[in-house]
Amino acid sequence: MAVVTGLIAMVTPETKREGASMWTFARMHAEMYGPELEAWNQQQTDPSRRVNLSLIGVQAMEQRMMSAFLAGLPSADLIEAERRNAARAFAGPLESVGFLDLTPYIERDGLMNKVNKASFLPWSKDGRIFGLPHDVHPMMMAYRADIVEAAGIDVNEIETWDDFERVMRLLLYKPDGTRRTDRYLLNMWETQIDLIEAVLLQAGGGVIDASGVPVIDSEVNARTISRIAMWTSGPEPIAAEVSFWDATGHQLMRDGFVIATFAPDWMCNYWRKEVPQLAGKMKLMPMPAWEKGGRRTSVWGGTMLGIPKTAQDPEKLWEIAKHLYLSRELAHELYTKSDIVTPVREFWSDDIYDQPDPFFMGQPKGRMYINLAPDVPDRFSSPFGAIALARTQGAVSQLCAYARDVKPQREEDLLPKAREFLAAAQRDAMRHVNRNVFFAARDSSEQSSDAAAEVTR
């Protein structure tokens, strides 16, 4: 069978459509780009400047992209990749990254000052930028305003996580003082690594430093995961799991099983479509900070547009990429159709972001996200990012299991164990770093840290 199909594939002529090919993984993006690209194609007198868009499942796209990159074969001319998928392309040595280095184009067109700088970081490696950022994805807390306000709680009293726990706690109890089993304050659980990462970043921690090396065992991470363990597994847990992606989770959201949940801008659109029953019941507020005056936001997710090295005529493709990601019309459409805030800072003052959103009880949602966008924490790409996150999640799970066993009264009781588990996770992650000959070679040139700092500047 393999021989026969191989022969058929060999003799079948390749059908090549005129113009550039573009892959995207998100239906929402494809729906948005479709009419825009149609208009663009109609304007082009040169057929080679037209763009053919394909919507491909995220995993299929990752496999096709990576197979092409690793084998040095052509793929699409433009690839829109999600953070986790794109990260795989940055895992090897700099010269083996399959995307074209866009740094000269970005510098030439002055985009470093135009686009939110933190948005470049996930697509950067050793100071070189390989993708045009699609978004910022600031994070807020979405809460069940109908329940909170009915209980007479004023969320303006909440500035820190301590405030959050103190002010919201009364929602956990019935009028007779007994603990409710059908309500928690926070949607958070020990295996949700995206949320754990977001919370660590918000607290000023994180798992990867600017040079791409794991920094799992920092004191701030130890303190943060101790709090997470208290929330989810302490003697009086305030957090529970409500899956974002399935019907069970949606039902629990409707039931008010959790009061507050982490909400990056893109999540608003997801709820709007998947749980419309929540319309008019939820409001947004900045995330509580870890200390007074601290950061009130974090970040989750991200998408970039890259040009594979094998693509023909990068200049032409760069023009298309800029049109899709940096034009005002598409930035507005991005917000109206998907609730996502553009990374182009000069559009942030546009009126469209001030419009009240009925889903969130008339709040000017766009403006609220934009106010937080400059504070979004930096995230650095690294070949060890996935390993570091997995090990950190393992440490969180170990700490949660420990908390369930010992039933600590205070977060501080968990700190020694948190340090111990994180140190073990760090050692394990460093074993991967130390055995990676490509990284060692790069590290010896001592470029990485300075280069990452360069992008941040």
């Binding site: 795989r88 090897g92 390993i387 997995a390 394990d428 055995r435």
Partner: protein, 307 residues
Amino acid sequence: MILPDRSRSVFPWLLLAPFLILVALFTITPLFGAAVLSTQQTFGPGTTRFVGLSNFKNVLADPLFWTAFKNTLIFTLGSVLVQLPLALMFAMLLNQPGVRARSFFRLVLFSPVLVGVVYVAMIFFVLFQKRTGLVNQLLHGIFPSWDIGFAWLDQYIMVALILATLWQYMGFNMVYFLAALQNVPKELDEAARIDGASWWKRFRHVTLPAITPVGSFVVLLSIIGSVQVFELPYLLLQGSTGVDNKGLTIVGYLYQTGFQSGDLGYASAIGWTIAIVLAACAVLQRMLSGRTEQQRGVKRATRGGDA
């Protein structure tokens, strides 16, 4: 037609050629390719550096590999020690004379194997959900103190995996045992019965020796299948390795390093380590079944001498 001597020596090779070419292309070549790769650190096939045996050294010192090994061992033991006795039990029940609708029950028990692993994973993913899963709902219904939020897929993923595999493959192994049981000489069993042997003695001294060759083959198949388990945990845990890597298996770790981290060299070293473990199991199985055969031969010879 009588073939000339020369043709007679070439003809069998011609018949074997398609098989040999395919095996050489798709089995032997990748095997040697993986051996070469296991001495390199790679980022895809294009970027490689020779690292000697350090991949193997790292694999053996890698706590995650040992976690995966331990998990796989638990799964293998669970599968073999739970699934096979149950398969044998059902085979014996169906082999009883006078069982009605034997074919129907055989089909019912065998049918889960016809369902793909993806479907099994989807079914068990729903069954083992925390609050809404049927397993927790049922247990909570029977035992009100049962925690409806019991995290099967977090803390007890191996139990969930063993149960899912049991459901899927028990009937498959039962068919092997049933075939073996139907070949047990009836006269031996009858003779033992007439001599007043109990059920257990007849099973121990007549049935079990007769089905041992098939039994050891089924054990070997189960061990190989269990060591290679990948799809079920991958799907049940939705691509993750579970809480504290409780769902990480050896092949899962191989996939993670080879296809997610792009280090095909390290993945090849893991692959070769699995191959060596499996080969050791096969040799052990051959030795054990060889010894059993030998013992039986000695017993037969002794009895013959006595006579």
